[in-house]
Symmetry: C2
Subunit: 128 residues, 2 copies
């Protein structure tokens, strides 16, 4: 991964994780598209459970790239307990461990109107 | 819900479920859009865990509408253990319980290129 330069922003795409490694396949495709669309931005995938890296590991990789601000984008459908409690707690730990780093949490992907519309369109196409 | 008529198709939008009821908010929005786009098709939400109705309950509702074929559209990101094992087992149980009903399982929403692209676009927009 290229050096991100001073003040650079990095993205952590943060997903739940699962026991079956094939569960991660869509996230690998999403990450590939994000990297293609934002070629100057370091992008890491991270998982809450079962898979690696975890949030800490992904943040360490971005810090090693010179990133000073990180946007954690949750690849979750809904704003449940993980996003209301677990993820903010993890971010608070990492913020304490990296005082110069700004870590921001975006809303869940499932709260985005474009994502909602795409899933609805998928349901309609597959409902016949 | 209107009577679906003879041979009609119904959709079950099937999500994981979570303890926090706010987790379901995106799915309610998605269901609203699907109903608006397919006004003649009975649409039910169902959950694997924590929330109601479960798959059985949603199928009973559709059968009561006169539906004879059901498309189960999994609102899951990846093809992990739930979709490879748990959901097919549930569908097999319901197929045995309703011999005249055809129940088909669509791929996970996260495997759809349109959904992948929408999530990637969301990440790019929220990564700056």
């Amino acid at each position: 991964m290229a050096d991100a330069g001073s003040g650079a922003v990095g993205i952590v795409m943060f997903a739940h994780g699962a026991r079956d490694p094939r569960w991660a396949e869509p996230f690998l495709r999403i990450a590939e598209q994000v990297r293609a669309a934002a070629p100057g931005t370091p992008v890491e995938l991270a998982y809450l459970d079962f898979m690696t890296p975890d949030l800490r590991g992904a943040i360490h990789r971005l810090v090693a790239c010179g990133v000073e601000r990180i946007r954690v984008v949750p690849l979750f459908f809904g704003p449940g307990g993980h996003l209301r409690t677990d993820v903010p707690n993890l971010i608070a730990e990492e913020t304490a461990a990296h005082p110069r780093l700004v870590i921001e949490l975006a809303p869940a992907a499932g709260e985005d109107p474009g994502v909602v519309a795409a899933i609805a369109a998928y349901c309609v196409r597959n409902g016949g």
